[in-house]
């Protein structure tokens, strides 16, 4: 007992890390399902359908498949670095998520904030520090495989990530100038944060004054996470599978999970910096917004019930019935006033992040891949000057306003 009360922060952090890890791992698994479904519907296909109702058990089947496949190590590879690379990629990608606040810091249990693991004063800098060493996972995987295509993929990836990291960082500085802090919770709701409204209904989100910065951030972020149209490190028409050509079994799955975790981090960051994080888009006086999470869950539950009654057959019918009861039960729980109030922050945060994740998948289903020289000239000759200009203009405007106010 003495130990627990003395190290309450440590104990609380460990519990939060365990819960967050579970949630993020599940989210990663279902992100693959989400992506396959959305891309399939963009291309007029059904996507995963047969493993579980609507393919809902597909991620589980995929995970088991990766676990039981032969874990082949190329004999000419550098064994230590070959092992290290996927661990580095995944652990760094997961560490970054510990800095993200999913809800307001005022929600506390036993005096410990619930929705964030580390509310650091220099949260953003730490996040950039972690993502900046994330390159090594890909680069080292390419080198240690001791094979042509992975090496080319690793080289491309390091060049690309160095180039776009500059624009990514500079595009965010405009927001930092507005907020005057590096702490995520203060960027969202600090004295110069994104609370409040213009004309009583337009939320004061940074995306409006920083629209250029936001567009630069979004482009650079897609490039940083090696996604289409910037996925040259794994361009299959040129490099087989790029940096992870020689990886099989769970080590391959770890690269896959790292990519999706990075997608989540980058989407969370966009939400926090430009779209008011866990703040609601509606004014506080609109009381009905308190019941939006419940309404959403209940609507989903009723749709599932309709699906069970009309379309599902056999085992899928049973599985979807479980999902129906889960949705309806959680929805009913969210109708309770105290629960509804606690759920508000995470609900808006998740909703905004989901929009960005959908955007990612949408881009993947729509755009073709860049050519390598186009990628480089786009990053250095367009994105970097534009984000620099945005920074200079923002700084000048802020200096002008503070002098004349």
């Amino acid at each position: 007992m003495g130990f627990i009360s003395e190290h309450s922060v440590l104990v609380a952090s460990l519990i939060k890390i365990a819960v967050l890890l579970f949630v993020v791992m599940t989210a990663l698994a279902y992100l693959t399902w989400f992506e396959r479904k959305v891309v399939a519907h963009i291309q007029s296909r059904w996507g995963p359908y047969y493993v579980g109702a609507h393919g809902l058990l597909q991620p589980l089947a995929d995970g088991l498949k990766f676990l039981f496949k032969e874990d082949f190590t190329p004999p000419a590879s550098d064994k230590l670095v070959y092992m290290l690379a996927p661990f580095l990629a995944l652990s760094l990608a997961l560490t970054a998520i510990a800095l993200i606040p999913f809800g307001p810091p005022s929600v506390r249990i036993f005096g410990q904030p619930v929705f964030v693991v580390s509310n650091s004063d220099i949260g953003l800098l730490f996040l950039f520090a972690i993502t900046s060493i994330g390159v090594y996972g890909v680069a080292l995987a390419g080198w240690s495989s001791n094979s042509k295509y992975p090496l080319l993929g690793g080289l491309r990836s390091s060049a690309q990530m160095i180039s776009y990291e500059v624009s990514l960082t500079i595009s965010v500085v405009g927001v930092l100038l507005l907020a005057g802090t590096l702490n995520f919770n203060s960027i969202i709701a600090g004295p110069h944060g994104q609370g409040g409204y213009w004309l009583h209904f337009i939320p004061k989100w940074n995306v409006i004054p920083q629209i250029i910065g936001f567009l630069c951030y979004l482009t650079a972020a897609i490039a940083e996470t090696n996604r289409i149209p910037f996925d040259l490190p794994e361009a299959e028409t040129e490099l087989v599978a790029g940096f992870h050509t020689e990886y099989s079994s769970f080590k391959f799955a770890m690269f896959f999970m790292a990519e999706y975790a990075n997608m989540i981090t980058v989407s969370c960051l966009a939400t926090i910096l430009f779209f008011g994080g866990w703040l609601s888009p509606f004014p506080d006086s609109w009381h009905w917004q308190l019941f939006l999470p419940a309404a959403g869950l209940l609507a989903l539950g009723f749709y599932c019930a309709y699906d069970v009654a009309t379309r599902m057959r056999g085992l899928a019918r049973l599985q979807l019935t479980v999902v129906t009861f889960l949705c309806l039960g959680l929805g009913a729980l969210c109708l309770l006033h105290p629960v509804a109030q606690v759920v508000q922050g995470p609900f808006w945060f998740t909703a905004k992040v989901l929009v960005f994740l959908f955007f990612y998948v949408w881009v993947r289903g729509t755009l073709p891949r860049f050519r390598y020289d186009q990628l480089m000239s786009f990053g250095w000759k367009l994105l970097l000057p534009v984000s620099l200009a945005n920074l200079v203009i923002t700084a000048a405007v802020i200096a002008f306003i503070t002098r004349h106010a």
């Binding site: 190290h7 440590l10 550098d78 230590l80 670095v81 290290l84 650091s120 004063d121 220099i122 800098l125 730490f126 950039f128 520090a129 972690i130 900046s132 060493i133 390159v135 090594y136 680069a139 080292l140 390419g142 080198w143 240690s144 090496l151 690793g154 080289l155 390091s158 060049a159 990530m161 160095i162 990291e165 590096l182």
Partner: protein, 164 residues
């Protein structure tokens, strides 16, 4: 208690990294060891309360400088280093001198009061305080350094364009 454990773990990794940096024969292994040293140092800075310095240490050294190192090593596909025998100078003059230096260092650390007070946090250095100092009091030094770096960049450009 916990900071002490973290300190010893990071100090251990920093020393191990520094030793393997010299002993490794594969250039990439040396680069990786150097990254290990830098990240461990960043954690040690964090223990001293210098959050900003710690993050910048990782972003600049581990994240930017070493990525370029690794990139160049990969691009040149540098082979294993060849071991040569110790040079005579190192053997007969270098080793005794290094030993002497070590003893002298330990003796000085043992006696000095500065070393005893090192490691205790006297004041949290906030990013705001640091930047106020840097951009007010030390503005001239800051600008002078910037111009120095600009000259280095221009020099690199001139060298790269020489053959065109």
């Amino acid at each position: 208690m916990i900071p002490l454990i973290v300190f010893f773990v990071c100090a251990f990794f920093a020393i191990v990294g520094a030793v393997t940096l010299i002993l490794a024969r594969e250039p990439i292994h040396s680069a990786l060891s150097l990254i290990l040293v830098m990240v461990s140092l960043a954690v040690l800075y964090l223990l001293l309360g210098a959050e900003f310095i710690s993050a910048v240490q990782i972003i600049v050294y581990a994240g930017a400088v070493m990525v370029l190192f690794v990139f160049v090593i990969m691009l040149l596909n540098a082979g294993k280093e060849e071991r040569t025998d110790f040079s005579k100078l190192a053997k007969y003059a270098g080793l005794p001198f290094a030993f002497f230096l070590l003893i002298e260092l330990v003796r000085w650390l043992h006696g000095s009061t500065a070393a005893k007070s090192a490691g205790t946090i006297t004041a949290e250095v906030s990013t705001r305080a640091l930047s106020t100092q840097l951009f007010r009091q030390y503005l001239f030094n800051f600008e002078a350094t910037s111009i120095l770096i600009l000259i280095a960049v221009l020099g690199a450009l001139v060298l790269a364009r020489k053959n065109q």
